[in-house]
Amino acid sequence: MDTSRPEPQLSALYQELILDHYRRPRNKGTLEDATHAVSLNNPLCGDEIDLQLHVDGDTIKEARFVGRGCSISQASASMMTQLLKGRTVPQAIALAERMSAMMQGDDGAARDKALGDLRALSGVSKFPVRIKCALLPWNALTDAVKAGRG
């Protein structure tokens, strides 16, 4: 019996851009004037993220993170914080939804320029067990802004 699937391209998963964000994460650190902070971890694999936002009115002025984990979770966090700066909270939530759609294999989302560098992570959708890695920082983001509005 051969239950094997066609081999997803590892090179598509581990693109240079992803490894670059993994090894040289942008916006890594903490904010002194954070208005929103959330810590999330994946208890199964141990990936961790502490996300801090400085939100002024409805605009995300700064986003920083501290984290430990695999290349996918850390690159996703790095790319996300780059993209968030200057966005409104509703825009950020819309991006989180696009990111989630891309992880579910939505080709339109994978081509959506709004996702910027994050499009390099579209290959993760072929590796179901790794989707939670890519979405960990985004789940932290949605938790943070929802808590902020509550």
């Binding site: 094997s4 081999e7 090179s11 240079e16 490894l19 141990g46 984990g69 890695c133």
Partner: protein
């Protein structure tokens, strides 16, 4: 070395291909594959023998009960238990340890007492003691480990100075493969009056275990880690301890007489087996033991140690790979935990999976140990009797590929 080709033919799942490659299953510390003998025993039980045990008045039920009790005798003989009634069937090691903590621990421990565990214990031999100590206001003392991943014997001695009521440790570490000097540790613990609980999840499948020679008091094992079905396992204990302990779960089977407001309890081991037991699990576990005995635990241990030594040699030749745990043969079972430069273990596991190689990546349910090793996670290859040198070669080859993919240039 064992005749791996012949052994593999007994395991239908190993003939399966993964991602277009021969399946290289190196996650045996998590669970093991099952030989046809075990699968057939379970199927045969349901086809010919199934009925509820210990209560039927008809021949079929008597045969089911005999099969279940024969399985208990098989487990008892396999680890040289004190008596068959000292073998309580459980869902596995976790439930066995929870039983000891919840029954023996709850009646024995007071606020001034302490429980000793080690920095390499699996969460299943740690969290039940945390819960118990929190409930009682007692102290939980974690013994440190040495740099090469062994129990620090001088710290173990310090922990015993407080005269703990319970001392718990793993015979073999699931994360590092360390084979602990269990008999020596038990002797030291007994000298201060402690009761000794041994986590045998990783030792029972891989070495010849004799609980009377170890002279522990409680010994927990899991069937699924030794070719048996998931949800099978046992607590092996000194009968006089079990006799004196209160029940853990209430229900049918564990009672003697039931009145409106109280009950008297069945004799051991039934006192600890409330409800309909996992008879197929027990029957499958007995078949697994028969299979292991047919090959010989000493041969299996020797085979795995050879593979582990080969793996350590090949892996450490790759620049950037760090192997954790003791190196000396005899101090390590067939478990090899490692990291590779800055490539996260999850990324390593994903890359290896594309070559059909199954390893574990993560904290291995040993978060306190990972903190002591100063790593968030490791990659872990763990061997069993059906693994061969070709599996070690596949592992090393795929790791080199992972290194290339990550552009890993040694410093």
């Amino acid at each position: 070395m064992l005749d791996v080709a012949r052994i593999r033919a007994d395991f239908p799942l190993l003939a399966q291909r993964e991602n277009g490659h021969r399946l290289v299953y190196l996650d045996n510390a998590a669970t093991t594959q099952k030989p046809s003998a075990v699968l057939d025993a379970i199927l045969d039980y349901y086809r010919t023998t199934n009925a509820n045990v210990h209560r039927g008045a008809y021949d079929l039920a008597i045969r089911a009960t005999e099969a279940y009790e024969a399985a208990r005798a098989k487990v008892a003989a396999f680890v040289n238990a004190w008596a068959p009634e000292g073998v309580v069937f459980t869902r596995g090691t976790t439930e066995a340890i929870n039983l000891v903590a919840g029954s023996y621990g709850r009646t024995t421990l007071g606020a001034d007492d302490s429980v000793v565990v080690t920095g390499m214990d699996h969460h299943s031999n740690l969290v039940p003691w945390q819960i118990l100590c929190q409930e009682k206001g007692a102290t939980l003392r974690m013994v440190e480990i040495t740099e090469d991943g062994r129990i620090d014997l001088s710290d173990f001695g310090h922990a015993l100075e407080r005269r703990p009521k319970i001392v718990a440790f793993p015979y073999v570490s699931n994360a590092l493969g360390t084979v602990n000097p269990a008999a020596q540790l038990a002797k030291l613990a007994h000298a201060v009056g402690a009761v000794v609980v041994v986590d045998g999840a990783q030792s029972t499948p891989h070495l010849k275990v004799d609980v009377q020679a170890l002279d522990c008091d409680f010994y927990a094992l899991s069937g699924h880690k030794m070719l048996g079905p998931m949800g099978s396992g046992a607590l092996v204990a000194k009968p006089e301890l079990l006799d004196a302990m209160p029940p853990y779960h209430g229900g049918g089977e564990m009672i003697s007489r039931v009145w409106d407001d109280h009950s008297t309890y069945n004799k051991i081991p039934h006192k600890f087996e409330a409800g309909t037991p996992n008879v197929e699990g027990a029957v499958g576990l007995a078949a697994a033991i028969a299979y292991l005995e047919g090959i010989g635990l000493d041969h299996i241990a020797d085979h795995e140690q050879t593979l582990a030594a080969e793996a350590i040699e090949k892996l450490t030749q790759i620049e950037g790979v760090t192997v954790y745990g003791p190196r000396a043969r005899g101090h390590r079972a067939g478990v090899v935990s490692f990291t590779y430069g800055d490539i996260h273990p999850h990324d390593i596991a994903t890359i290896l999976d594309q070559d059909g190689i199954c390893i574990r990546a993560g904290h291995h349910c040993t978060q306190p140990l990972m903190r002591r090793l100063n790593v968030a996670a490791t990659a872990r290859a763990s061997f069993y009797l059906y693994n061969g040198p070709d599996d070690v070669d596949a592992l090393a080859g795929a790791l080199v590929k992972a290194g290339a993919l990550f552009g890993y240039v040694p410093a």
